[in-house]
Symmetry: C2
């Protein structure tokens, strides 16, 4: 629907009526967010006029305003006209609605914004209801209503409760049940990034029920989970509401004072989204966001790479000098990658695979050295193409000229903005030396990358 | 982006400016499609004023116009402003672009409309390019450009070629490679619906290359498939372009004369979408669409159920009469379901699981009888909730009062319209007799449904 309306907008604009997107870009809220993002970029040591990030403030402002559009939407507008009469749905026919019972839509992929740190989090939403009043609601409306509440600054439990009460009030059924499986990226800071125990995601499963699902012990919940049939989601691994007082957000662990001008900028962003920065849950958000962002300050990790302890591998001489025999392709796969997309200030993450050529007798290069190189180029504002090239160039300086680098990454900006391509990911290759002109060498290396990564 | 523009639209409307959605609904093309859909509904024997389908003509018209919006979009609008300078992308650095080589975005979920039968088909899109001119394009634009060409009446090979040339001309890189895995639903007609050999999907993999990917034997393709790493997609299982003269569309097999007033209505729809109904590929489309649609004419299969040969099970007396002992829950799971959503005239399909109670000594009910009941209620305009209830009621008449029915279905309308929830599906339950008031019986049955279905 949206895109067609876009087309109309453009038609309207062509007719000389100055409405729509152009006006939106000039709205004071958008401009205020842009100004705040410029403060953040300067705080990261960036030149805000650099071509790659020149439009980043506008992109971030649009993404945030679109990502919180739910504050301006309401359930009645969506469900009205989508309630259809169905006979045989009297509640009197029997328990569970009798014939015409529970309706469950599973596996809706959505995303929301964490109120504790402003990062998007992924939501796998399962929503059910038991019709009453001889009316059923169009299935897509369950997703659209859920989307209203995901497009706000949220916490998983409140999100579940909002969707539940929104549907209960909007369609007035016998009961509504909502189960959300939420995943929040757990970005390491520059200190914990080398710990192998670092987990990439914080997961939490929450539920909310109203009407006949209000009591957790209702047999309707047994039906719900029986019909849901997701072995990893049961009544027993749902987070208890009484334990919900601690936020799930990994950034909550960050303490310490913030950087004042950047903090003020984030406070201004929250206000421009129509939210009160003094609301209890948002009080520490600016500090947390800035602390997280400062992990990507240019050169923070570069020093580490040149510092003591990691120079170990640097003493290796180039291996592919003339006259050497028994050369073989070696690989180090599944190196962990974290980075920040400079176009949207959103994380991307994945795996890096590095191939190089050395003599059969040489000892393999230390994995920790290659991991350091990946992190040193990851922890800054990046684009995947440049990152791939920079890793290749650095590895080439250390290990000699024959290098191939493959980066496979998931981009949060491909999920949490208009195109919402949840399953997609991006692969890039950089090749130097022999890998540039030997397709067989490239193919041999690509086959070394394990299936599952 | 769309939804925020929606909000603006509403604001505009509230200010008294009559633009946007209301106008769209009154556009002559939309009205013409609505009129044509009314002809189709009448041809199916439906009362077009029935509340459930009263708005179906408008919903179908909006879906079709939105689903073909790509005719009004162009690549330059999307990629301009999203080309970013990146040094180190000179083609001279080496084969495959040297450092800064192939960029591949995998697993973009899209859908398009089959020009042969007007049904949507699913597209898993993999698109790659080798940057040149020291410029890379924003990753999301690869998806947005592909979307322009999917939102048209298409054939897989033309779609791949369109995406490829659109990107080649739009961003002017060293080369573009597109691989599409397309899946077209293969709806059985009322004759073939009982054949166990019927396959649900017609799958085809196609590719298209330009620039350095133009020649199929280019080593760039080896890199592409090496980086793609999808074991089911190789150079060898891609459909050869020379074999592409036969359409992949399963409706192509349908021959015979059409129903004239309905055919004319579909021709009018095609014209309202801005397409020439005389274009070679569209010439037989109205007849094919109508033939497919007529499978869902009310009562077509009902007669079969009451006819000879299927009354076999009807002689069974109700089993749960008082005084009987050793009753057990029996189940028949994974019955095949096909139906047509009456709100959107789009297919939904999946599995039906039926539970009932009989004495341990009784022979199990013939699976073919239950499958007939499912098909008799499936092959008409339906909503899943009503379908579930009707199956339960019919089974109850045949097997006695204690019946539970679970329907699990994928709805094409959840994919091929605005919300595009590719992975979601819907479960519904109807319970009668003992299953209404015995949660343990319901739970026991739900556990009989196999994981994988």
């Amino acid at each position: 629907m949206g895109a067609l309306d876009d087309a109309h907008y453009n038609a309207v604009l062509e007719n000389g009526v100055k409405l729509g997107r152009c006006e939106f870009e000039q709205e004071p809220e958008t401009v205020a967010i842009e100004d705040a993002v410029k403060v953040l970029l300067r705080g990261l040591g960036e030149d805000i006029n650099r071509e790659g990030i020149r439009k980043t403030p506008l992109r971030v402002a649009k993404a945030l305003r679109e990502g919180t559009r739910g504050y301006k939407q309401n359930v009645k507008d969506i469900v009205q006209g989508a309630l259809f009469p169905e006979s045989g749905l009297e509640t009197g026919v029997g328990h569970a609605g009798g014939a015409g019972g529970l309706v469950l839509v599973r596996d809706l992929d959505l995303f929301s914004y964490c109120e504790s740190c402003l990062l998007p989090f992924q939501v796998k939403c399962h929503v059910g209801y038991i019709p009453s009043g001889q009316r059923v609601v169009g299935l897509s409306k369950l997703s659209r209503v859920a989307d209203i509440f995901t497009k706000r600054l949220q916490d998983p439990q409140r999100l579940a409760d909002d969707i539940c009460s929104g549907l209960q009030n909007g369609i007035n059924p016998t009961g509504v049940a909502v189960v959300l499986h939420c995943s929040h990226i757990h970005f390491p800071d520059s200190h914990s990034t080398f710990l192998p125990t670092h987990k990439r995601w914080v997961n939490v499963i929450v539920n909310s029920g109203s009407g006949s699902f209000r009591k957790p012990e209702s047999t309707n919940w047994v039906d719900f989970f029986g019909l849901l049939r997701r072995p990893n989601i049961t009544l027993h691994n749902i987070r208890s509401k009484t334990n919900n007082k601690d936020s799930w957000c990994p950034s909550r662990a960050n303490t310490g004072p913030g950087v004042s001008s950047m903090d003020t900028a984030v406070t201004s962003i929250i206000r421009s989204l129509g939210q009160d920065p003094c609301r209890k849950e948002l009080a520490g958000t600016p500090t947390r966001f800035v602390k997280w962002l400062m992990n990507f300050k240019e050169s923070k990790l570069e020093m580490k790479l040149n510092g003591p302890g990691l120079g170990l591998g640097l003493g290796l001489s180039p291996l592919n000098t003339a006259g050497q025999v028994n050369l073989k392709i070696r690989s180090e796969v599944n190196l962990s990658l974290w980075s920040l997309c400079e176009h949207h200030l959103l994380p991307f993450y994945g795996s890096v695979h590095i191939g190089y050529i050395s003599s059969e007798e040489a000892s393999p290069v230390l994995k920790s050295l290659l991991q350091s190189i990946v992190h040193s180029h990851g922890f800054k504002l990046q684009v995947q193409e440049r990152l791939t090239r920079q890793i290749a160039e650095t590895v080439s300086r250390v290990l000699g000229g024959d290098v191939i680098v493959v980066v496979e990454a998931n981009h949060t900006c491909m999920i949490s903005r208009g195109i919402e391509k949840f399953g997609s990911n991006t692969g890039t290759i950089a090749v130097l030396g022999r890998f540039s002109n030997d397709p067989d060498a490239r193919a041999e290396f690509l086959e070394m990358i394990p299936e599952s990564s």
